[in-house]
Structures are given as C-alpha cells and as structure tokens.
Amino acid sequence: MKKIKYIAVGLLASSMVLSTSCEKFLDQNKDPDRILVAPIAQVLTSATVNVGFTGGSDIHRFTSLIMQQNAGRQAGVQTSSFETYLIQPTDQGNLWSSLHAGTLADLEFIIQNSAGSPWYTGIARILKAYTYSLIVDTWGDVPFDEGLQSPNNFAPKVDDDATIYPKLIALLDQGIADLNQASSVLVPAANETIYQGNRVRYRKFANTLKLRLLLQQSESNPGVAAALNAHINAVGPTGFFESNADNFQMAFVNAANARNPIHSFEVARLNQFFPHKTLVDLMNSTTDPRRPFYFTDFPFGSGMYKGVNFGATPTDINFSRMHTYIRGAQLTAAVTNAAGGIVSSVTGPTYTGAAPQRMLTFAEYNFMRAEAALRFGAPGPAQTFYAAGITASMSDAGVTSGNITAYLATPRGVLAGTQNDQLRMIIEEKYVANYGVPVQPWSDWRRTGFPVLVPNPNGVVNFIPRSLFYPENEVNSNPNFNQKSGMNVRVFWDTRP
C-alpha cells in the first residue's frame, strides 16, 4: 500500500514537472523575426514612401489613361484595357489595399501612437487627409468614420462622400495645429521622405491641399466663393506654396527598387504606356517648350512629337515616349528603328528613374488661384497666377527662362476671351502641367469639362467614367458596400451637367 502511495506521489510530481516543461515546449508562437510594435519614425518612412509610390502607380495609370494624357499599347495588356474604360473591380484591389492597409493603416498607427510627439501626429493627419481625398475623388462614397479600426471593426460602414470632405478639412486643420505645437519629443527629419520633416512646408502643403479641396467643390457648393476667399485671406500669401521647392512630391533615387514608379513601369512593361495624342497635340498646338522634357521626339531627332491616337495598331511603337520629366536624367542614347521609333522602353534611351513623383505642385497652386480669381472673386489678378503657374511648371520641367518668357508672350500666355474661354485656358495649362500627377486632371475635367475630350470610340462604355467601380476585394468582404451601377455614378462635387 505504501509502495503505491510512493508511486502515486512520484507520478504526480513528475507529471507536474513534465507539464510545465511541456507548456514551455509548446510556447513557441511568437515570431522571432518580426516585431509587434515598431517605432513611429520608421513607420512614417514607410507611409511617406508609399504615398509617393502610390501616386505613380495604378491610380496614376487609370486616371492618366482616362484623361488621354497617356495611351495603352499592345493588344490585350492591361493598359490597353484600361484605356477602353475596362477598369474592372478586380483591377483595383492592389491599389485599394495599398491605400488603406498600407499607407493609411501606418498613418493611423502613428496618429494613435504619437502622444508627446505632435509633429508626427500632424504630418500623419495631413497625409491621411491627402490620401482620403484621392480615395473620395476616385470612388465617391467610401468608409471614413469607421475605417482603419482593425481589429475592432472589419466591415466599416460607407459614408456619404459629401460628409467626408469637411472631415478632411478638419483633419488638415488639426494637423496644422499639431505642427504648431512648440515641441515634440520625437522630431521627424530625413526619415520623412517628402519634406524631410520640414514643418513649414507641411503647413503650406496642408493649406494648399485645403485650397484644392475647396475648389474641387466649385460646381457643387454654392458657398464656394466665400469659402475660398476666407481660406485664402486667412492663410495669407506665405502660407501657401511659394516655389517649386514647396511641391508636394516624393523624391525617388537612382538605385535598384528605389526608382520612380512610372519609370519603373516603363522598364517592367515594355511598350505598354505611351503619351496620348490628345495631350501631345494640345502641346503641339502651342509649340509648348516642355515637350522635349516630357517626351522623346518622333521620328527621333526630328523635333516633332507624335502621341498615340485611338485605334492605332496595338503593336505600333512609332510614337513619342515619356522622357526625362517623368523618368529622370537620360543615361544612354536612343536605339531606334528604321522609322525613327525608339525600339523599346529599355534599350535606350535609358534613364536614372530618379524623377520625383509629383502630387500637388506650386504650378497647380497658381492655376487654382487663377481660377479662384477668375470665377470666385478671390485676390488676383487671374493672369498673374496663370503666368506664374506656367512659369512654375516650365521651370520644373527644365525650360529656360528665355523660352518661358517667349511662351508667355504668345497668345497662349495671356488669358483672353470669355470667362469660359479663360477657364479653358487655365485648366488646359493645368492639365499639361499636371502630367504625371494622379487623379487631379480627371477631377478638373469632371468639374469643368476641360480639356474637351472625345470618349475612346472603342470604349466598353460610350462615356468617360465619372468614378471607378468599387474594388472587388472591398465589396466582397464588406457587406455595407453595394457595387455601383456603373462608372457614370458621380462623386458628390461632380455636378456639371
């Protein structure tokens, strides 16, 4: 009996030892190679690089193809489909995920985890407002109030886009207030890759973006004039962009996997993305001196520029191609075929890929002011801002001051005609200046109807889209979404008849 007792005690003791060592043996489920909490400084780097990358990625391809700044080439490849407005819900999943689960999730993490470092909070709020503005301008009604709350809410409700805009403006104001705080424990610097942490420039950007959001409502908001004037007067001349150095753009560098995304697409997807006839012809009609920087000439060496027309043979490569303004400094000479076309987008010329990704420029600021002055009685005169916009864009492209002066001396350089004629000139110049800028040329067209575009005759719909279908990955996993009836559903500010 005693023996049994000993055995029992022994068994019990050994089973206890065994079970604790078992627990230890089984406690293995923390990944030793990843971190659960990251420093906000490195999260901000991820966010700012992604803001720039996204700006030159799908959203730029969709909108610049819709706007006939670029054309799709090669039968059946995606750019050619997008050009026919075949931009399917499935095509947009990567973009939608990058915007939300990539950039915005990182920004939200910074906002929630930057107590004591308001300069981080401020930058994150301003970038959040910018990113959401792209989302609203592209898709319309989207989640905002309940968005970015994973893991607490995996299916946010969809908000009326008209209610989101004021919240974005409030977010910008909050961001400016954060940046105005006297001190910040952590100070963003070079790790912030757009303005290197420069608070003054971020404030200017916030104010300029706010101007964009107000002007976006030019047709929908009866109080737009008052709002624009109030904003412009409150901010004052030094509160907005003052030079190209203030441009909201992300600098890419000439190193592997660090290059401008539009350039990288050219390298990865040979001969699929060319300047469109609409843009090139518009610039040809004004003998625009930006052309040698925007495009290669065709035939090569001729000084002439030829964009792709709708209906051109899909494999035909005998056109101008995008050039140094988008792709960075030229490295090697052109390799051409007998017709004078560049053989491919990688054989030569080759480029550094170190061009910036432009998202909101000083040029655009000036065109906004020109329009505000022209239409809404804002401080002007419109002509001054119009000329400043052209000058900013041209000097950014590398046009000599002599050539800029010459251009401004042509009829194109002086606003003339009816208000509508002048608006047309402003928006057309803005359209040219915003070559490479995502979404905004499309927003301007939806608002103003300029430049006047003829829909692609081979389009799957016979109109130019007013918004994109909702991405399939969102519609499929969020029961609050109903897919829209078509790409003619409009964003709230798009009320132009």
Binding site: N29, L148, F154, S264, T315, N478
Partner: protein, 1034 residues
C-alpha cells in the same frame, strides 16, 4: 511459470511421438514457382505436431519425421502446401505465390502493422515493381493512375519540377491539401513545390529527394480514418514509404540496376508556316504576331535592318528543345545473418532536360540494419543521405521565361540562324522579351540539397503479449539556392532587377525531429475474442531557418558572386513549431472475421493559443468478413466478401504565428513590376502587417464517414473493391479577407466548410491464366467532388491563386477551385453580343469561366506474363477538369496556330478575306451577320483579356507507363556470376490523346504544387521518356 509448463508439455508430446512412430529423414529445397529461386525461412512442420524447421538461406531443409505424416510448407505471401511423406527421402517443394493474401500485413498509421483483413478503412499498397515501371525522377509522378482516390498532377516537364498529390479531394481552404509523407515511420518534408506566377523557376516538391529504387513499397492511407493516428498533418491522408531492408536468413547478395531513358517533349503545337510576322497583312519586323503577308520569298527588312528574302522556318521553335536523358544506377549490398540484417545501397540519378541548362543529379546513400540483441530486443536503424543538385530555367508570367512569347514566334524568324547575342553578350532579339536562347543560356537557377532522413528504434518484447517500441528520427536538410539574372535580362527572372542584372543567394536549413513511444498489448479475452491495444505518444519539433541576400545591378557580366552587385537586400527568418500527441489504438477481433478498431488522439500544438491548444479526435472503424462468418455463402461464385464502415475525425492546428499582428519590413509594389524595397535610400521602414492577428483561433476538423466492401469471385480470379465516402471539414482555418478599408486585408479565422463526396472502385481480375501465361488487370476509378459549403460570413469568394483576372477561387455552393475571368457580353438569352464591326464586347464584370476539377479519373493497369517475359502498362484516363491555357490563347491571337490559317487570309488582290461570322446578335438584338477577317476573329476572340475563350477541357487518355521485361532463365545463368538477371524496355507518357485540348498537354500548372490547379501560363511542355533497364543480382 505458465510458459515453462507449456514448454514441458510440448517436449513431452514430442518425445512421445518419436517413441510412437518410426522416423524417416527427409530433406529438400523449397523454391518459388515464379522465379525458380530458393526461398529461405519457409516453415516446414509436421501437421498436427510441433515438429518442424525452417529452410536455410539456400532454401534447404532437413527433418526427421514419422513415416506417413504430412509435411506443411508455409511462408508468408505463398499458398500453404501439404505433402504426405511416403518412402521418399527428398521432397522438393515449389511454392506458389498467393493471389490474395488473407493474412497480408499492412503498415498503417504510426507504423502499426495490422492484418489487412481487419482493416475498416481503405489503404492501397504499391510495390516496388509497380512504382519504378515508368522511371521518373520524382516519386510522386510514379503514383499517377495507380491508386483509386489519388490525383497526381505534374507542374510541367522541366527537370526537377514538382507534382501535386490530392487524396480524396480537398479538406482545407488556403492551407496545404497535400498528404503527409512518411519514410520508415518518420514524417518528411514534401514542401517547396509551389511556383511564383510572375518570376522564378519551376520548384521541386522535396519528396523528389527520395530514390524510388530504395522503396520496398508505398502505402497510401486514404482519408481521415486511415490517417487519424498521424493527427494534424494527415487530414489529407498519408503516403507511407517503406524502404528496402535485408531479410533475416537471406544470403549475401549484390544487386545492380541501371535504367537509361531518353526524354522528349511529348507534344508540340501545330503551327502555321504560311504567313509571316506582321499586322494587318503588312510585314512588321518587331511584331511578335504572325498576321503579316503570305510568305512568298519577297524581300523585307528584318529587325536587324538587313534585307532578307521572306521564308518559313517551321522548326524555329522546336529547335529550342533537345533530347534529354535520365540515367539511374543503383547498387545494393545485402548481408544478413540469423540475428542481423544489413543493407547498404547507393543510387545515382542523372537527368538532363529538354532544354539546355536543365539538369538534375541525385546521389542517395542508404543503410538499413537490424540487430536482434536477444530474443526479446531488436534494434533497427535506417538512415539515408541525399545529395541533389539541379539547374533550371525561368518560367512564369515574365519576359525572361523563354516561352513567355516563345511558343508563337513568327515562322519567318530563323531563331537558330540569327545571332542571339553580340560579342559583348548583349542579347539580340526582334521582340521586347528575352531572346529564348539567350535567357536559357544566361538566366540561371541552381540549387543543392543535402539531406539526411533517418531513425533508430528499439523494439522490446517485454512479455509475450506486450511490446514496447521507441523510435527517434528526423529529417534534416539544407538547401542552397542561387539565382542569376544576366545584365540585360528583361523579365522578373530571379530577383526582378529591371534589366540591371541580379543575384539571389539563399540558404535554408530545415530540422524536423520526431519521437514515438508505442506500447502494444495483444491478448485473447476468450477463445473467440482478442484485442490489440496500442498506446503511445508523439513529440514533434520542427525548425526552419533561412537567410538570403539579393544583389541587384551587376557590374561584370556573367560573374556570379554577390560582390558583383551594387545594391543589396538581405533578409532572414526562422520558425519553430512543436506538437505533442498522445494516442491510443484498440482493435477488438471476434472469431477472426469481425473486427472493431477504435482510435483516439489528443494533440497539443504550439501554433494555437493556450486556451485551445489541446484538442481530441476519435475514429472508429469496423470490418466484417462475410465469407468467414457465414462460410455457406462461399462457393465457386463468391470466394471472399468483406464489408467495412468507419467514421473518423481529425483535427488540424493553425498556421504559424497567426495569433498576433506584426510589423514587417516596409515595401511597395503594384503587381506590374514597379517595386520599392527597404531600406529606401538608406532609410529603414516598418509597416503594420496587412494580416490581423487572431488570439481566438481554434483547431479545424475534418470528419469523414466511409463504407465499402471487398469482394472476390471465381476462385479469386475476379475482385472488386468499392469505397464510398463523405467528408466534412468544419471550422476551417484560413486567412479570411476582410475589408481593406478597415486597415487590414485579412485575418486568420475559423470560418469555412467543405464537403467532399467520393466513390472509389477497384476491379481486378485475371482474364487469362495458363501454366505459362497470365494476364492480370486492374481498373481503378476515382470520383470525388469537393463543394465549398461556406466561407466566412460576408465573404463571397476567396481567390486561391492567379491574377487579378483570371484567377482560381472558391465560392460557396460551387466546386472547390473554379476559374474566374472576363467573359463576353451576352444578352438575356445567352447569345453573344457583337458590336457593329461584328466583334465581341467584353463584359465589365468577371464571372466563372471553368471548373478545374476532373469529373473522374481512371487507371487501368495490366500485367501480362509469359514464361520469363512480362509486359506491364498503365493507361491513365482523366475525364473533364478545365484548364486555363494562356499558351493556346496566345497561339491563336498571334496567328501562329495552324487553325488561324485554315482559310486563305488574302484574296487574289491581296485584300484580307472575311471567312468568319461570330454567331450572336448585334447590339440591337438582331442576328450578327458581319463577316470578319481571320486576324479579327482569332485576334479578338482570343485577345489577351478574354478569359472565357482561354478555357479548355483537360480530359486525357494516355499510356502513362509501359514496361516489357525478360527474366533470363536460371539455367542460362548457372555458369555466370549472376543470381538473377532481368532486362527490359520501358516508357512513360508514350501515347496520349487529348480530345478537347489543342496543341499542348493539359497536365500542367503554373502554380506548381498548389490548391489552385488547372492554370497554365506560358508553361513548359510535358515530356515523355523511354529507354531500357537491366537488373542483376550477384
């Protein structure tokens, strides 16, 4: 005490018998009827007594027996024979192998051996002979068509490419559906066969490291009941590999075998060679389209700017391929004594592929020994070392894949005659992709595996009825991989260097350790009722470490060292998962014909949160041998009937590290090539992971119910096995997509449900049998259908693999793995809607375009022997199963497929003819009557974005394997050193018929070993091989 008593009684009886009868001395040799070889170890017993002996290594015996007694000769797998001892002193006996072995022992889960008769679930064993018939390098391919319920699919014909195994459909959603592979009782890693869609090469599944010649047999445990004891990892069944071992008492021998095969592409497309490169009937030197003018010798300016006379080179694409070879040499040394066995083997396999720079070389060294230390204690060890090196070519949807656009190079391109690179090594090509010859030569992928798989075991018969077995073993391998992208490579290749060249060096180290302790008790409860109980535990500890460095922007052409790169992205990682399982297996047997098998297992897994870490699952299986229970029904018609039924449930743990949300290295990519890697410009970055952690995750379960029967008729000349099953997987753990607007794109959850129903038939028979001639045939039939019952709430579909469009996805209510893509616009009546030009219009909404699951599979094996000749062949039939074929679509849209030239494309005036009208209606609803050109018809119906037209039925009938061998009769070998000599010829994929799949072999998958099947994207072709073999023992 009791035992001693029994022995004494036996001794007494023995002496009594000697006293009672006059003894004679008898001796003789026992041989096998099949090969005339002596059989050692045959039991020779005087009927009704314990007097007996065993034959020695030469098959000889001698025994003193009472006159007039009956000698019983018995040996496993042979029919028992009796003979009455008269006056003769020499009795030679020829034993005949048994058709069906009632006492056949099969290895089941965890190495537990059971009588096949008692099994209440389906298992199939494939012998060594059946396995090596086709001489493939990858053991998985050798299973194709041979087992009902098993679907094998090879990724492509590249040397060393992977193959998938699916047993009884699918049980999980995004986790692996591959079965567990076990070698001599130790699970091995069969991972690694998945393929990237946009870059890289065709990867091997790691079972390719196993040498088929080393395998004694392969047992396939189908379904949860058979595999329940293996637990979490065997929900999809298990492939149990038993390697060859020496046999106790067998004489020393050396065995040598060689097989030499030629490898060829088994099917080439049918190309048109009448029309040249170009578009709209006009020659274009840079177009990779064959819609140019008719080739009549006219002068054109080629892409090099040279004038040339237009002509066709019908073999320009075929010329990229060559004959490959597969040479296998094996040497086996056996040396055994009464107490020990020893086998050493060396195998060498060398394969060269159908493309240059495709090679595989494998060396397998193996030792199997067992040693009986005492009558109770047996030690065994089984260890093999594998060294495998291989070199491969790029594949996938990328410009460096030689067949990205290589299948439809226009006929006027003299690929072999034109230069492919200049003096400096820069490629020269008319098209924006990599020149196929240049990329095969320059963009390389090399790998080396060094692997040890082994175990040592102690087997102790503690009591006559109690056995203790302990086994510890592991699978250890290192994998060194090196990818090289030449400067100027245009595709993603190995590292996506954007033309600047790059290198990837990666080292992985995998260490899986397993320990098993099994205690087995066997007792009779009454005369009629016995039980066997095994209780045991498993401890598994699996670690994986990898490190890799990618260098981009190379300085010196062809210099394959990381120092040659300008920018670097290093990364590393590691993982560890542990599992403890305790289990029990009880067999109750009543009168030998009714058996009940109960199992239970409890797992404790590290991948689950603490509160749900422990989970239990049971199984019950029963078998009833009707012909033994009611012998009266047994007769000439019915000779054997067994019924089975089982129910089982198997639990499965979670993927690694799914309980938390982690930050990862930042990065950007849009799926089109543009990529940002961090550190960016010297700045580090971290980004919150897109996958949200789930601390509440629980195990998933698969429950199955199976009934079946085994019947044999006409004195075992005809047999039929039937198995019907239904399995339901619930609480399936998978990465559920969530609304990205939440800030995450997915969360690992318990959500889905799958249901599989299936039918397996095996009909086997011996249609002809005479003294010298025998024809055995077996037909196995597989029908299995997995339906997605439910995904997560609010999740209408899951994309398993593929592109934005097309892709392979799961949708509730639909079969597992449907193809989804762009469709043509149709009206309410299903008529295709054509535009005013008579051309198709695409529907902006993507829809289902195919179902990748075959309707059924059938394998017909035949084994015909005449004297020393043996002819075996396997016909493999697959009905249905859609394949998305980019290659076929490309051949058509490019105007290179022969059918694109079925009508003259130009009339006498040189104007395009309009021979086609697409059936359908125009946008006003009236019948379409607009005639279109061949270029419009093929070009638009098969335009790249049109998913619907790229889907083809992948049915096949193929002569999968065949072998004809001859065993040289013994009398010819008497004066030679040979103990046995077999020679023969063999082949694999020799003939095939694809009723609905033009141009290519549908057995291909761009995703490799993946849940997503039926997706061909610029794939390499399948191959056939044929050759000869020789096998000799000394």
């Amino acid at each position: 005490m009791k035992k001693i008593l029994l022995k004494t009684v036996a001794m007494l009886l023995f002496t009594m018998q000697i006293a009672m009868a006059q003894n004679v001395s008898v001796s003789g040799t026992v041989t096998s009827r099949d090969d005339g070889q002596p059989i050692p170890g045959v039991s020779v017993v005087v009927k009704g007594t314990t007097i007996g002996t065993q034959t020695d290594v030469s098959g000889r015996y001698s025994l003193s027996v009472p006159q007039g007694s009956t000698l019983v000769f018995s040996f496993i797998t042979f029919a028992v024979r009796e003979v009455v001892v008269g006056n003769q002193t020499t009795i030679n006996m020829v034993l005949v192998p048994e058709q069906r072995q009632l006492s056949e022992v099969v290895v089941t889960a965890l190495g537990i051996e059971k009588n096949k008769k008692d099994l209440g679930y389906g298992v199939t064993t494939i012998s060594s002979e059946e396995l090596i018939q086709g001489r493939t390098t990858n053991v998985v391919n050798a299973l194709a068509g041979k087992v009902a319920g098993v679907r094998i699919s090879s990724s492509n014909g590249m040397t060393g490419s992977g193959s998938s195994v699916f047993i009884r459909g699918f049980t999980t959603i995004t986790g692996s559906n591959q079965p567990l592979f076990v070698v001599d009782g130790i699970p091995i890693d069969n991972g690694g066969g998945a393929m990237a869609l946009q870059n890289g090469t065709s990867n091997s599944n790691r079972a390719i490291d196993i040498n088929q010649e080393d395998i004694e047999n392969v047992t396939v445990l189908k379904g949860p009941a058979a595999a329940a004891l293996y637990g979490s990892r065997a929900a999809n069944g298990a492939i149990i590999i038993t390697t060859k071992k020496g046999k106790r008492g067998e004489k020393s021998k050396i065995e040598f075998s060689n097989s030499t095969n030629i490898i060829q592409v088994n099917r080439f497309p049918d190309w048109q060679n009448e029309y040249s490169q170009g578009v709209n009937g006009a020659f274009n030197a840079n177009a990779n389209l064959s819609w140019g003018p008719k080739i009549t010798g006219q002068t054109v300016t080629n892409f090099l700017g040279q004038q040339e006379s237009l002509q066709a080179f019908p073999d320009n694409i075929r010329g990229l391929f060559k004959n490959g070879s597969n040479i296998q040499n094996n040497l086996v040394f056996n040396s055994s004594s009464d107490n020990a066995t020893y086998q050493f083997s060396y195998g060498n396999t060398r394969e060269t592929g159908v493309l240059e720079n495709n090679e595989l070389s494998r060396n397998n060294f193996r030792i199997n020994t067992s040693n009986k230390l005492s009558s109770k204690l047996l030690t065994t060890a089984s260890v093999q070392y594998v060294n495998l090196t291989g070199q491969k070519t790029q594949t996938g949807n990328q410009l460096s894949n030689p067949f990205f656009r290589g299948w439809f190079i226009p006929p006027n391109i003299d690929l072999q005659g034109l230069p492919f690179e200049d003096a400096a090594g820069n490629q020269i090509y008319f098209d924006g992709t990599d020149n196929p010859i240049w990329t095969i030569k320059n963009n390389l992928f090399d790998e080396e595996i060094n692997r040890i798989i082994g175990n040592v075991a102690l087997n102790y018969d503690a009591l006559p009825w109690l056995n203790i077995n302990y086994k510890i073993g592991g699978d250890f391998f290192s994998q060194v991989r090196k990818g090289f992208d030449q400067i100027g490579a245009r595709g993603g290749a190995n590292v996506t260097a954007g033309g600047a060249g790059g290198i990837i060096e990666s080292n992985a180290d995998s260490r899986d350790l397993y320990s098993y302790l099994n205690v087995t008790a066997k007792r009779n409860i009454t005369d009629d009722l016995s039980f066997t109980l095994t209780v045991g535990n498993e401890i598994a500890d699996r670690r994986f470490v990898f490190e890799q460095i990618i260098g981009r922007q190379l300085v010196v052409r062809s210099f394959r060292n990381i120092s040659n790169a300008v920018s670097f992205s290093p990364s590393n990682g590691s993982s560890r998962q542990t599992l403890i399982g305790v289990y029990g297996d009880l067999i109750l047997n009543y009168k030998g014909y009714l058996s009940l098998n109960l199992t239970g297992r409890n797992d404790f897994s590290s991948t689950l949160p603490q509160q749900s870490r422990s989970f239990f699952y049971p199984s019950v299986a029963t078998s009833f041998v009707l012909t033994e229970a009611v012998p009266s029904i047994k007769g000439k018609g019915l000779s054997y009937a067994k019924l089975i039924a089982n129910y089982a449930r198997v639990g499965k743990d979670a993927p690694l590290y799914a309980t938390d949300t982690y930050f990862g290295l930042a990065g950007s990519a849009d799926g089109f090539g543009p990529t940002i890697s961090f550190p960016f410009n010297g700045l580090p970055g971290f980004s919150l992971g897109n996958q949200a952690g789930n601390p509440g995750i629980e195990p998933e379960f698969t429950a199955s119910f199976e009934v079946g029967g085994e019947f044999s008729f006409l004195n075992d000349r005809l047999g039929l096995d039937v198995n019907l099953y239904k399995s339901n997987s619930t609480n399936i753990i998978f990465n559920v997509p969530v609304a990205p607007s939440s800030g995450s794109t997915s969360q690992v959850r318990n959500a889905g449900e799958l249901e599989t129903k299936g039918l397996e038939l095996l009909l086997k028979g011996t249609p002809f049998k005479t003294k010298n001639f025998a024809w055995n045939t077996a037909i196995n039939f597989t029908k299995s259908r997995t339906i997605v019952k439910k995904l997560a709430d609010g999740v209408p579909n899951i994309v398993l693999a593929g592109f934005v469009t097309p892709n392979i996805r799961l949708e509730p209510g639909k079969p597992y793995g449907i193809l989804f893509g762009t469709v043509f616009q149709r009206d309410a009546n299903g008529n295709q809607v054509l535009n005013a030009q008579g051309l198709p219009i695409l529907d902006p909404i993507t829809r289902q375009i195919g179902d990748t699951n075959p309707d059924w599979l059938m394998g017909i094996t035949n084994d015909i022997s005449y004297k020393g000749f043996n002819l075996s062949f396997l016909i493999d039939i697959r009905k249905g199963g859609d394949v998305f074929s980019r290659n076929i679509g490309d051949l058509r849209r490019s105007g290179r497929a022969i059918e694109t030239a079925e009508f003259e494309r130009f009339d006498a005036m040189g104007n395009p003819t309009r021979p086609y009208v697409i059936p359908g209606v125009n946008q006003m609803g009236q019948p379409n009557t607009v005639a279109i050109t061949a270029e419009e018809y093929w070009g638009r119906l098969f335009a790249f974005g049109t998913g619907e037209s790229y889907v083809f039925d992948g049915s096949w009938v193929r002569l999968r394997e065949a072998s004809l061998s001859y065993t040289v009769p013994k009398q010819f070998l008497d004066k030679t050193p040979f103990g046995r000599l077999d020679i023969g010829v063999n082949g694999r994929n020799l003939f095939s018929y694809f009723p609905n799949f033009p141009h290519f072999d549908p057995e291909t998958n761009a995703l490799g070993v993946s849940n997503g099947q039926g997706f061909e994207f610029n794939g390499l072709p399948q191959t056939r091989n044929y050759g000869f073999f020789i096998r000799a023992t000394f």
